[in-house]
Symmetry: D2
Subunit: 159 residues, 4 copies
């Protein structure tokens, strides 16, 4: 299952205001373009910038992951606080494989990393053992040891 | 390491003749767009349509995989005979993780699956145990049990 | 009015055969993307590679241009024999402004010139006096004096 | 000649801050993609959002247009105050053909109108008589009678 929570991944450009905003998720379109034959449910839980995500929002995500039937879950999420949501999920010790991913550039803009990251996350969720991970920059990181380097925009282990 | 052998993945449109042809691989450009921080060597072994691949070509690929230092190898390949190359590599029983991938639409055209497949393959090569696999359509297949459905263009297990 | 006759402009990539082919024209989508507010009828007359265009096909195009109400017509056309169709139309001396355009790379592929050429042709058809023209490479050419340079793929006056 | 002044046309997405910003103009790249064989000088005068353009900036643009050799000038410009710059240029009554254009969506994002508009402007500047015009939405408008409809984002004559 892919749970949508928003982030740069799904942002679009509003030509009338010049701002970025959310309309509908593009994940289904991306799965079609990837010719993905894995049986995947796509559910939009929320569409927010992760800088605006609160503990209440993380609680919603956690409950959904805990209660749903699926045991392999990809979550699309803003990169700014992805590690915080990963930590909240990791501590809950659900017996599931959960992989968070996102994008530094919106899928709808040229040169987005979103499509590559989605392919990466869907692969990792099928092959990694139970646990909570972040899939960015072609790699996976465990929830206990991941941080976004604000200067470079890349994810890495905490030194 | 990513070994390039060609395939639709890297084809381009020649505007003067109207045909598809090969120039240079786009894999390095794709790794940059994916903001990939995994340490990856990219080597172009050949640039051919896999319908034109011979046993001699497969021998070259096999020898390279056997002799190189790397123990995790992604191979970009035409989809038409990807399963044949997978079989040749699988039978050799190299103690390595080798993942073949490709694309149904050239990366340089709109709506390509190539970027998604590359993210998928790079993820699988890091997380799957030693063996030879095909990564297409968001999934991985074992070399002993994979075929391309010529009608749908999708990969599946042999029934 | 925009009359569609095919050409590289509207070609698409068939992933199952690896060939280029025609489905539906993309001109309406291009007018939307260009946010075009000019009142334009789009009619598909045929969808063929202009190397396969016969005199009978050119007769069809000529009759349509002669009989329709519109006095400003853009025709999308393959570049290989665009000058021949321009000549057939020019000799008929219709009291209309007719501008032929096309593309060296299909609109649906990356790096197409099609969108730029369409903007160019729609502008020229509104500002040029009656006559038959080819709009390619950012310029307009009169039907009496235009040829496609087969080596460079560019249009120029006959020397 | 194409004079660059900025606007949404040339904006890019800064992945580290999430904001839009200017780097270098993409016009030369667009002329290459359009396979434009017209002899065009591209000069960057400034790179600003037109909401931040001052009368002093307009003075710079006007002086440049007046003093340069060229008699046909396309100006890329933000759409928000394009009509104001057009008015300043129109009143100066230079004996030149000047066409202003821009984009509602940055060229670098998917679904931009920029490339279409550039083709349009380059065509109009070659075929319209001396005067100052805005080329947007597939049409041209005279400087005395053009306004941007803030609700729809389209340009139209003042009612």
């Amino acid at each position: 299952m892919i749970l949508i929570t928003g982030g740069t991944f799904d942002k679009e450009y509003d030509e009338l205001t010049g701002n970025l905003y959310f309309r509908e998720t593009h994940v289904s379109e991306m799965l079609r373009q990837g010719r993905c034959t894995v049986d995947i449910d796509v559910r939009t839980l929320m569409m927010i910038d992760s800088l605006e995500m609160t503990d209440a929002d993380r609680e919603i995500i956690l409950n959904y992951c805990a209660k749903c039937e699926e045991e392999k879950i990809v979550i699309t999420h803003g990169t700014d606080t992805m590690q915080d949501t990963a930590r909240a999920l990791g501590k809950a010790n659900l017996q599931k494989t959960i992989v968070l991913t996102g994008a530094m550039i919106p899928f709808k803009f040229g040169s987005s990393d979103g499509f590559f990251n989605l392919g990466s996350a869907i692969a990792f969720v099928q092959s990694l053992p139970h646990g909570v991970y972040v899939a960015m920059n072609g790699r996976f990181f465990r929830w206990e040891n991941v941080t976004k380097n604000k200067k470079t925009g890349m994810f890495e282990e905490m030194s």
